[in-house]
């Protein structure tokens, strides 16, 4: 699971571009963007990635070798059976979708089998979610604030808990590739 806000498109492209088409782990990415710009996000990423990219749909089960994009205007959650659900509840940290909502529900569903990455961004969303991932034994990674286009979001996360890794994008990219090789 990857979450980002301001500057997130570039950061995510950089991370996901080099993942091979047969990357086994399902990838979920959530970006804060205005609703209208958001709609072409899946296409934009599909043009650049080897992996299949699609917008996450309610009721859909997460599959390997796919990057799921959180749709605009809804919260995206993961159910116990590892399928997606959507919600129109109020925005969290002025964000809908919210990274906290995604990470907290994913932590419940995946426990220790989850890796959560928090990237560049200008608000506080994701910090609490990341702490929840850690509390359930998941792996937490924060983009190094000095490497982030906007450091507020990584800094907020670091203020709340100590993640397993604080990394700049190139190292983070290498780690994502490594993760696919580890048994889970």
């Amino acid at each position: 699971m990857l979450g980002g806000s301001a500057g997130g498109v570039t950061a995510l492209l950089c991370l996901l571009e080099t993942l091979p088409a047969d990357y086994r782990l399902p990838v979920v990415m959530l970006l804060h963007l205005p609703d209208d710009r958001h709609s072409e996000l899946a296409q934009v990423f599909q043009r650049r990635l080897a992996l299949r990219v699609k917008e996450a749909e309610g009721g859909e089960t997460l599959q390997p070798a796919c990057v799921y994009v959180a749709p605009p205007g809804y919260h995206l959650l993961i159910e116990q059976d590892r399928s997606f659900s959507l919600s129109r509840e109020a925005p969290q940290h002025h964000s809908r979708p919210s990274i906290d909502v995604l990470f907290e529900s994913a932590a419940d569903a995946y426990g220790a089998a989850l890796a959560a990455v928090l990237l560049t961004g200008a608000n506080q969303d994701g910090a609490a979610g990341l702490a929840a991932v850690k509390a359930r034994g998941g792996l937490t990674i924060v983009q190094d604030p000095t490497d982030a286009q906007v450091p507020t979001m990584p800094e907020a996360a670091l203020a709340l808990h100590t993640p397993d890794y604080v990394l700049a994008l190139p190292d983070l990219r290498a780690l994502l590739k490594e993760l696919d090789k580890s048994p889970c």
Binding site: E57, G59, P71, L77, E79, Q80, S85, E104, S105
Partner: protein, 273 residues
């Protein structure tokens, strides 16, 4: 904080208690979002555990009514997703016109915004007078608000933008008067509307209809309950009747996928085969 497993158990017990005591059936709602809403309620109720909350609501119907406000997500907008209403106007209304009288069911109408939007659309198309709209929900407080038809002035600008994008033929302000600190919608708009308590989880079909609009309700249901709801809609709809869903809802994963054909795939409007 209690271990995760305990919370799961407590949640199931809470949902069961609500069902046994108040007949509201949340057992087949999507768990992740329900859990979030209960967590949120815990803070508001100043309860340490879900069990404590359960005790409260079991012995205090008012507390349950309060909890229901968290569980049901009573948020709505007029002409939400304007493209949907435009598609209704352009692609569905011409066919509804061929019926001597039109019955419409707005399932999960919440505080009524969707109902007034439809009523305005039908009025502008000259159909309102021969229509009957059934507006149903499980949240009695939302239904009361819907009947009142008063919306905060802050919301009106957004509603107006939506209305214009939805192909509105007049000014939205023609339909309301400023009252108190809200906009009071013309009561003639609801002359043809019957508001009623009805649950897609526990109740059955009450009338034949030509159009069912059920938006942003099914996203909170699991597949079993979605299928139940689709079954009700299918049963209620007349031959070749229309079904409108929310912008992220689909029939794809349901056992009714083949019972409907798309009218506008993008706007999620379907027609009974």
């Amino acid at each position: 904080m209690a271990p995760e497993r305990d919370i799961e158990i407590e949640l199931r017990l809470l949902i069961e208690a609500i069902y046994l005591k108040y007949d509201y059936d949340f057992r087949d709602y999507s768990g992740a979002s329900l859990k979030r809403r209960v967590r949120h309620a815990l803070v508001q109720f100043e309860c340490q555990t879900v069990s404590a909350l359960q005790e409260r609501i079991l012995h205090d119907p008012n507390a349950f009514m309060q909890l229901l406000q968290y569980l049901t997500i009573p948020v709505s907008e007029m002409f939400r997703d304007p493209g949907y209403f435009l598609a209704l106007r352009e692609q569905v209304v011409p066919l509804l016109r061929t019926y001597p009288s039109v019955k419409i069911w707005v399932a999960g109408c919440s505080t009524g915004e969707e109902v007034y939007s439809l009523a305005i659309l039908l009025r502008e198309e000259g159909l309102l007078e021969r229509s009957i709209i059934y507006a149903t929900d499980i949240n009695p407080r939302s239904l009361e608000k819907a009947e009142r038809g008063i919306y905060p002035l802050e919301a009106i600008q957004g509603f107006t933008n939506n209305y214009q994008k939805a192909g509105g033929r007049q000014a939205l302000s023609d339909y309301y008067t400023a009252a108190y600190d809200g906009a009071l919608f013309d009561k003639s708009l609801r002359a043809q509307v019957t508001f009623a308590d009805h649950s897609l989880a526990t109740d059955s079909v009450f009338s034949e209809t030509q159009l069912v609009s059920c938006r942003n309700v099914l996203i909170y249901f699991n597949k079993t309950l979605q299928d139940r709801a689709f079954g009700l809609f299918h049963e209620s709809l007349c031959h070749r009747g229309f079904l409108g869903l929310g912008s992220k809802e689909s029939l794809d994963f349901s056992s009714f996928a083949r019972a409907f054909e798309p009218v506008s795939k993008h706007e999620r409007i379907f027609r009974k085969r």
